[in-house]
């Protein structure tokens, strides 16, 4: 059995028929080929699959594709605008906020949510806000710096 869905991703509408059990993350990666969003675990712990769903962050492994019918999603591929990288992308680059890069798409999307809710967070608030995203490389310190830098408009 397949169910029709219509989901807008990074500004483009996709109409597809999907299996009811298909996770949103697999819809994004396997059906649409947008592989920037990662799968790092199978228990919704790592946050590598974080996307913006109607502007709010969501772990795309905790949501079925059919539940996302009619929504508008932003993935890491859609974050940069016509005038270049998103400030968070710039800050992660400038502050060495990534090493292997596998957690990075999810980490940037989670940071986007953090700054949406709190545009001027303290280091402690950033650490608390990102506790749902795991990184094994950086020890988080430069991720915190990157988010602070983005919050300060890239001036730090």
């Amino acid at each position: 059995m397949k169910i029709p869905v219509s989901i807008t991703i990074n500004g483009r509408r996709y109409d597809r028929n999907v299996a009811p059990r298909l996770l949103l993350v697999h819809f994004i990666r396997d059906v649409l080929g947008l592989t920037g969003t990662k799968v790092g675990c199978d228990t919704s712990q790592c946050g590598a699959c974080t996307v913006l769903l109607d502007g709010v962050s969501a772990k795309a492994c905790t949501c079925l594709a059919v539940q996302a019918d009619g929504t508008s999603i932003t993935t890491i591929e859609g974050l940069a605008g016509d005038d270049g990288l998103h400030p968070l992308q710039e800050s992660f680059w400038n502050k060495h906020g990534l090493q292997c890069g596998f957690c990075t798409p999810g980490m940037i999307m989670a940071s986007h949510e953090l700054l949406r809710c709190n545009p001027d967070p303290s280091a402690e608030e950033i650490r608390h806000g990102l506790e749902g995203n795991l990184c094994r490389c950086t020890g988080y310190q430069n991720i915190v710096r990157a988010v602070q830098d983005a919050a300060a408009g890239g001036s730090q």
Binding site: G40, W93, L98, Q99, C100, G101, F102, N133, L134
Partner: protein, 785 residues
């Protein structure tokens, strides 16, 4: 652009693709007609397989093939162990990629399903009926070494994989007999699970018409994968291409070549279409290699004024059910030879027993043997200080190897390259405000608060290593690295290297090496790695060796280019070669820098070859093979400051200060990032992480829900400092930095917690130092049940 680029913290060239989602990791690569493999793994730690019925799975929707041992045994050789430790009675259990008649750990592969989609493959796994006869399992290494323990392998007595010893210096029994003081401890280096964020994966494409195989694989060492795959799968090396595309961290867990990799290749060969396998995270916990798992019984002899006179240890190292690719060398060569640490210890003896247990195979995990060595030595030094009523910093100072810059022999047989251990400690104590912290601690104790300070002064062995040594210690490969440096006519540069970084940033630092040697902009240098077809042979990225060995190969290739460019420049300027000078990308006749030829001018001329000196070949390209004369030995001093809540047992890490010396830093920002990440992994061992099996061999920490990885909100900012002591034998003077943080930090945090608990009478707590464990230890020491 100038040579000063070497040493500057420029941002990474890797990052644009990673921050935009454009990078392609193995699972992101899609080939037409790909089938998907899923592995049926044993739910038992030890069981006989009396029969397997795959008929229902074979009939399931989308299933193309189901294979068991009988289908694969003639075409997949056992997974090899490639570190044949000499003089140790090494016994290698046959590791069938698909289990024959017995499974020996939860996660051992029993069958494989290949289907049109991943979900169909997983659905079909549930339809395979395996008749298991459970057998007694044994989990703890010492229990497995006991006489009446269940036996894993018929042909191996006592579950013993090897018994390795290191003896050096004076008579160890005499040292202990004559000692004023002896301190002892039993330490459990708990099993750790590496958890690279990218799960392991393999995508194999075999073309039956040509017999050519391409394997995309999550590996730290694609050339080793090619070599071992050719042996196990029978594809000739010249027809086998291995590509490590973007690789999402490894920490040792992507060194081994695994049964699932060989099986994926087999499936593609058999079916003649691409086959992809991607592990789930749960599968990663069960079947991707683990680290540590030592039980260490250790003792130190000393004089009454705190001078160490001997160190003796017996270690039982759990190896898991089979020996993984490099496993035997980890708890031995990379561990036992480092037991002198930063100290002059006149007599050392260690016995290491490698023991088979019904658990996931153990391999290198960040630090690989050296964290376990550092912990032993640093724990004993603290115990000695405590026994003698001396400050731990003072005891360290009384035993440090004095400053040296061109070699120092320790009794385990190694020659350290250079070091100033007291210098690092002095800098650390100053940066930390150590005396003030001790005063703060004393004042807090008056008020019933428990602050602790923990030191760890370490040296580690990396930049693996001289190939002659590799041969002598049974490593079934070389340990040199190679680089090709090629100038295009436009002056742009391609660098092809055999090593394969996967997050460490060498696309940037290697471009900086070229910039430093030849005066080009790092922007003009593209570093190519990870593809056996487009890169020269190399032995991989592990043991903090990529920059230390591969970087040296690249520097030497650049110097060959410089020599050739100088000859061409002399010819073009109608001067004698000996009259030529070089500065920052410019070749000129002495005294006339303004009329020189740039490296770009020469690249163009060498490539068009219109006017070459006689006997000089066209092109501007060089290849270099660098086989290091010795290892490199980074070192440093770390301090952890903790506060323990004696009511709850909670440990708060208040400060962490590090001084590390990895020689000249090519890119200090990247160095700092490596230090951060390394330290946090070591803190993870001290405070949260543990791979736990129950007594039947079920992995209780089999998901990210159950295995406590460090999270952002549990950590303080780490204060990073450095000293710079070049390695005397290295072309750039550099040492490694990838593992140093992990090697140092576990002992620092542990020592800090025990220091905090000292007024409560707690002498030891098994790691990880969870609130429950700390609280229980306080209750026990206070005589409360």
């Amino acid at each position: 652009m100038s040579a000063s680029t070497f040493g500057s913290g420029i941002r990474r060239r890797e990052d644009p693709r990673l921050i935009t989602g454009s990078a392609a990791y193995t699972d992101d690569i899609v080939l037409p007609g790909t089938l998907h493999a899923a592995m049926l793994r044993s739910p038992y730690a030890h069981a006989r397989i009396n029969g397997i019925d795959t008929s229902a799975a074979s009939e399931a929707s989308g299933v193309v093939a189901v294979y068991t041992h009988a289908d694969t045994v003639d075409e997949i050789a056992p997974a090899p162990c490639a570190w044949l430790l000499p003089n140790s009675g090494l016994t290698i259990a046959e590791y069938h990629c698909v289990a024959k008649d017995t499974v020996r750990y939860v996660g051992d592969i029993v069958a494989v399903v290949v289907a049109e989609s991943c979900s169909q493959a997983y659905d079909a796994l549930d339809l395979i009926d395996v008749d298991y006869e459970p057998l007694d399992a044994v989990i703890a290494p010492k229990a497995a070494a006991a006489e009446d323990a269940p036996q894993l392998h018929d042909e191996i007595k006592g579950n013993q994989a090897f018994h390795w010893t290191v003896t050096g210096g004076g008579d160890i029994d005499e040292a202990f007999g004559a000692a004023d003081v002896v301190v002892k401890e039993t330490i459990v280096q708990q099993r750790l699970i590496p958890n690279a964020m990218e799960p392991r994966a393999a995508l194999a494409r075999y073309v039956q018409a040509t017999g050519e195989l391409t394997l995309w694989n999550t590996t730290q060492n694609p050339h080793i994968v090619r070599f071992l795959c050719s042996l196990v799968n029978g594809v000739p090396e010249d027809k086998l291409r291995v590509i490590a595309p973007e690789v999402g961290g490894g920490f040792g867990s992507k060194i081994a070549v695994y049964p699932a990799d060989f099986i994926t290749v087999f499936c593609s060969k058999k079916l003649g279409v691409p086959v992809k396998w991607v592990e789930t995270r749960s599968e990663n916990y069960q079947a991707t290699t683990h680290g540590r798992d030592h039980v260490q019984e250790i003792e130190m002899a000393a004089t009454s004024d705190g001078r160490i006179t001997g160190l003796r240890a017996t270690v039982h190292a759990g190896m898991g059910a089979y020996l993984s690719t490099a496993a035997p060398g980890i708890p031995t060569i990379l561990h036992g030879l480092m037991l002198s640490g930063v100290y002059d210890i006149p007599a050392i003896h260690e016995d290491v027993y490698g023991i088979y247990t019904n658990t996931t195979p153990v391999e290198a995990y960040r630090g690989a043997g050296r964290p376990e060595a550092t912990f032993m030595v640093e724990r004993l030094v603290d115990l000695l200080a405590s026994r003698l009523g001396l400050d731990p910093a003072e005891v360290r100072r009384r035993n440090f190897i004095p400053k040296f810059d061109d070699g120092h022999d320790v009794v385990t047989g190694l020659t350290y390259d250079s070091g100033d251990y007291d210098g690092a400690l002095t800098k650390l104590l100053g940066k930390a405000g150590y005396e003030g912290l001790r005063a703060e601690q004393a004042a807090a104790r008056e008020k019933g608060r428990h602050i602790g300070l923990g030191l760890s002064t370490y040296v580690e062995i990396c930049g693996l290593g001289p190939s002659q040594v590799a041969g002598a210690i049974g490593f079934q490969g070389g340990l040199w690295e190679s680089a090709i440096l090629r100038f295009h006519p436009s002056g742009k540069v391609n660098v092809m290297i055999g090593a394969s970084p996967h997050g460490q940033g060498e696309e940037t630092t290697f471009a900086q090496i070229v910039a430093g040697e030849l005066g080009v902009s790092p922007e003009d240098v593209k570093v190519i790695h990870g593809d056996t077809e487009s890169t020269p042979m190399g032995w991989g990225t592990y043991g903090s060796r990529t920059t230390a060995v591969g970087g040296a190969a690249l520097a030497l290739a650049a110097r060959k280019i410089r020599d050739k460019a100088k000859i061409i420049a002399a010819h073009l300027l109608e001067a004698a070669v000996e009259d030529m000078e070089y500065e920052d990308g410019n070749f000129f006749v002495k005294g006339s820098p303004d009329t020189g030829k740039t490296i770009q001018d020469i690249a163009l001329m060498a490539n068009v070859a219109w006017n070459m000196p006689e006997g000089v070949e066209a092109g501007l390209e060089a290849t270099s093979f660098y086989d290091p004369p010795n290892f490199v030995f980074p070192y440093g001093a770390h301090l952890a400051v903790v506060e323990v809540d004696s009511e709850t047992g909670n440990v708060e890490l208040k400060r962490y200060i590090a001084v590390d010396d990895c020689g000249p830093q090519i890119n200090p920002v990247i160095v700092e990032g490596q230090v951060h990440g390394g330290i946090v992994q070591g803190i993870g061992q001290a405070m949260w992480e543990e791979g736990v099996y129950d007594e039947d061999g079920q992995l209780l920490t089999g998901t990210m829900l159950d295995y406590a990885l460090p999270r952002a909100d549990r950590l303080p900012d780490i204060e990073v400092h450095s000293t710079v002591t070049p390695s005397p034998h290295h072309p750039l003077g550099v040492k490694g930095i990838g593992e140093a943080g992990t090697i140092a930090s576990t002992a620092a945090v542990y020592n800090a917690v025990i220091d905090a608990l000292q007024p409560l009478g707690v002498a030891s707590v098994n790691m990880p130092l969870t609130p429950e464990r700390v609280w229980r230890s306080i209750q026990e020491s206070q005589g409360r049940n």
